[in-house]
């Protein structure tokens, strides 16, 4: 095939949101035939860049050039037409429709009478999958396929637009090793055709397999681009995290070793296996690992929120097989879930009701409750935790992320817990509220209440935790004490 090499260039691309600059005058150049990996920690500006290139948002200033021509997109549709296609991390296939229909959604071939020409659609889809080296029946519903195959269909769908630029946002987070290998083979074949490939990942281990060059963003600005030969772990970590490696505030040494919760052989549905550890009274235990390492699944398993296969938890003198949140609540376990909006709070109800939410069951505890009593409980936490609310009776959906997180924690403190499980407690929370959340966790530690914190922000774990467990592909691969280690140690243990 006669490969035409496409190019993609940005010139001083800038995106401002009220109060913040998400992307600062980024200029970079990618040529067709190479695979460019885009790196940066959360909030570095990777997704803003991808959204700008994909036409989902418009730049404040700066230019995008495709094949040397300046382009300006007002919508993703316009970017499509210019041949810039994004495969997002979340799958967007419609499960009930066939593979062929998903690929050509909205632009299925028609017969003269205006009816859909299924035979042509299927043969076009077949040809497309053939070209990508996929042997799949295009007539099966997309929902019948595994996650990896669905990811491949997403890429096929992107290819059907005949892209000159293909951007992939963490496409391997849901894939197993074998599937990842197949994806990589596919991407290399595409690159050989002259397509510009921009690949975002959190898995540093992948980049030597897939990348030709690495571009690093930090705080919205371009740090630099280096060829893969120079991309040693130390070099990359230095670029991603800057010179200020080391924690701002070394945590106090771990508290006296009175065990409060003992986890043995915890194994669950392919997400994590044979996890054992002991949590001590007042200890703040971090769990570090990349996306898909099984951190969230482990916390939910410990709380009985999702079923797990094997493993026991000893807490409060009882050894149990966690099977429901009410069972674990009785033993003094609490969970602030990752998706605060959808799982932590009932958005249409008030702060008052939400703070009392975990106290509604079993109902016999307080046979008669009153708005006044609920309000008293709520006001107490609002004052103690400095939650900014118009009134405790207004809907919790009006509150900022940080205040919502405090409401979730207040809800659980109201049940008198022994152990608090916090899943990404600072996601979508501003700096000041972040500090406050950690101050609350430290304060609880002082009162003898232990916490387990999962966070993608490794610096945060270094700052707040007494001890950090490393999770990799569902296995516990090590532990680390922040007071005797550096952030770089932690990063290289998690990623590599």
């Amino acid at each position: 095939m006669n490969a035409r090499r496409h190019t993609l260039e940005t010139v001083a691309l800038r995106k401002e949101y009220p109060g913040t600059v998400a992307l600062r005058d980024v200029s970079l150049k990618c040529g067709g035939g190479e695979i460019r990996v885009l790196l940066g920690k959360n909030g570095a500006g990777k997704s803003t860049l991808v959204r700008l290139l994909g036409g989902a948002v418009q730049p404040t200033s700066g230019d995008i050039l495709v094949d040397g021509n300046r382009v300006r997109f007002r919508s993703p549709g316009e970017a499509f037409r210019e041949g810039i296609v994004t495969v997002h991390q979340e799958l967007s296939l419609i499960p009930g429709l066939t593979v062929a229909e998903n690929i050509f959604l909205g632009r299925l071939p028609r017969r003269r009478a205006g009816l859909i020409d299924w035979r042509t659609a299927c043969s076009m889809a077949d040809a497309l999958l053939d070209e990508l080296g996929l042997a799949l029946d295009v007539r099966v519903p997309a929902g019948k396929l595994g996650v990896a195959q669905q990811q491949m269909i997403e890429i096929a769908k992107a290819m059907s637009h005949a892209p000159s630029v293909l951007m992939l946002d963490e496409p391997t987070s849901a894939l197993a090793q074998r599937e990842t290998d197949r994806l990589f083979t596919l991407l290399k074949r595409l690159a050989a055709k002259g397509v510009v490939l921009v690949y975002i990942t959190h898995r540093l281990g992948e980049i030597h397999t897939i990348a030709d060059a690495v571009t690093v963003l930090r705080n919205g600005a371009l740090v630099g681009t280096i060829p893969i030969g120079e991309a040693t772990p130390a070099a990359i970590v230095g670029m991603m995290f800057g010179e200020t490696i080391g924690t701002e505030r070394p945590p106090e040494p771990p508290p006296s070793g009175v065990p409060v919760m003992d986890v043995r052989g915890f194994t669950g549905r392919g997400a994590y296996s044979d996890i054992s550890f002991t949590l001590h009274q007042g200890e703040i235990l971090g769990i570090a690992g990349v996306l898909g390492a099984g951190r969230t699944e482990l916390l939910r398993g410990l709380f009985g929120a999702d079923p797990h296969e094997a493993g026991l938890v000893t807490i409060g003198g009882k050894t149990v097989f966690p099977s429901s949140p009410s069972q674990m609540k009785k033993l003094g376990v609490a969970l602030a879930p990752e998706d605060r909006k959808a799982e932590g709070l009932v958005q249409i109800l008030s702060t008052r009701v939400n703070i009392n939410l975990a106290d509604f069951w079993p109902p016999s505890l307080h046979w008669i409750t009153t708005a006044g009593r609920e309000r008293g409980v709520a006001m107490n936490y609002v004052r103690r935790m400095d939650i900014a609310v118009p009134t405790v009776d207004s809907a919790v959906s009006d509150l900022s992320g940080g205040n919502q997180q405090k409401v979730v924690i207040a809800k659980w403190l109201n049940t008198g817990p022994r152990v608090l499980l916090l899943d990404e407690p600072t996601r979508g929370v501003d700096i000041q509220a972040k500090r406050q959340v950690f101050d609350i966790v430290r304060g609880l530690s002082g009162q003898g209440i232990s916490s387990i914190v999962v966070s993608s922000e490794l610096e945060e774990l270094m700052e707040v935790c007494h001890r950090i467990l490393i999770l990799k592909k569902g296995k516990m691969t090590g532990e680390l004490f922040p007071h005797e280690a550096t952030l770089e140690n932690l990063i290289s243990k998690c990623m590599e």
Binding site: E343, V346, F360, W361, P363, W367
Partner: protein
């Protein structure tokens, strides 16, 4: 005026109801008599009893379509049991036979709702489907019990439950008001009631807050089916027979009253008081139209329009906020 607006906004239906009553009092001389008003209350009390339960079910994010059939089924079951237990062979005295029959009917109602709850929790069958099936099945069961003919085994005093007066007030009205007070307290002053709002508002968040969402769902469905069974007993008492064809389509009247009362079909939002007002509102409208000699056909059209209007007002109120 600006200060009045929030107050007006939160009590639109109450205000409309008062205006409607004033209007009817002016144009229909008979409307504002104690006798007529008590009659309105009695007419709405049997459906109203079910509407109270339905409010809980809808707030919890579920639905019960089987209540109309349950009314017929429970009336027929009560009649049949009263007859069977009172026959010389078994020989229970009439009051005992009636009491036993009523208790069994209420228990049957409870079990039917609990079955819908079990199907929802264990097998993920939406309550819309399971209660649709029950609607048909219970209606058929009522026909089976009665063999197609009304059963009339009741002693004369049985009429008191559905047709009698106590201190000049129709007895069903007492039952309705007591049930209102009970459900109002349940929803506003008990942890179980608060859990109902939480489950309807966000079932996953409620589950992760250690609320037993299965018990909540089963509880509201069982309670409502039991209230429908109680309504069936009252109905059989009023007409002094167990009749399989009674109460057809009640489920829709009941749901309409709940929605007019401001409860959201999406779950998580609603008040028992709103349903009370909605029930009375519909009763007054129907009564007023009858007094004004509006044809029955028109009454149905007006009722349909009211449902739409009430939902639109609710929507606008919520958007305004």
């Amino acid at each position: 005026m600006t200060r009045l607006r929030p107050l007006l906004g939160s009590a639109v239906l109450e205000i409309v109801l008062v205006v409607l009553c004033l209007f009817l009092a002016a144009v229909a001389p008979h409307f504002l008599t104690a006798e007529n008003l008590l009659n309105v209350l009695r007419n709405v009390s049997m459906q109203g009893l079910i509407a109270l339960g339905m409010t809980l079910v809808i707030i919890a994010g579920e639905i019960d379509l089987s209540v109309g059939s349950m009314v017929a089924f429970s009336g027929c079951l009560t009649a049949w049991l009263t007859g069977a237990l009172g026959t010389p062979g078994v020989g229970l005295p009439a009051p005992l036979a009636v009491a036993a029959a009523i208790l069994v009917s209420l228990a049957a109602g409870f079990m039917s709702g609990a079955l819908a709850g079990l199907l929802r929790n264990r097998f993920g069958v939406p309550s819309f489907i399971s209660t649709l099936a029950l609607l048909t099945a219970l209606s058929g069961a009522a026909e089976l019990i009665t063999n197609g003919f009304p059963l009339t085994p009741f002693p004369g005093w049985y009429n008191f439950i559905g047709g009698g007066y106590l201190l000049g007030v129709p007895f069903p009205v007492f039952l309705f008001v007591i049930a209102f007070a009970g459900t109002h307290v349940l929803m506003n002053y008990t942890a179980f009631g608060r859990a109902i709002y939480a489950v309807g508002g966000n079932a996953e968040a409620a589950r992760l807050s250690a609320i037993n969402i299965h018990t909540v769902r089963t509880g509201v469905l069982a309670l409502t089916a039991m209230l429908a069974a109680a309504s069936g007993v009252m109905q059989s008492s009023e007409i002094m027979s167990g009749t399989a064809t009674t109460a057809k389509g009640w489920e829709l009247d009941v749901i309409a009253a709940v929605i007019i009362g401001g409860t959201s079909l999406a779950g998580g939002v609603g008040r028992v008081w709103g349903t009370m007002v909605g029930v009375v509102f519909l009763g007054v409208i129907m009564n007023g139209m009858t007094l004004l000699n509006v044809s029955e056909y028109w009454q149905h059209v007006v009722r349909g329009g009211l449902i739409l209007l009430a939902v639109l007002i609710n929507r606008m109120e919520r958007r305004g906020r």
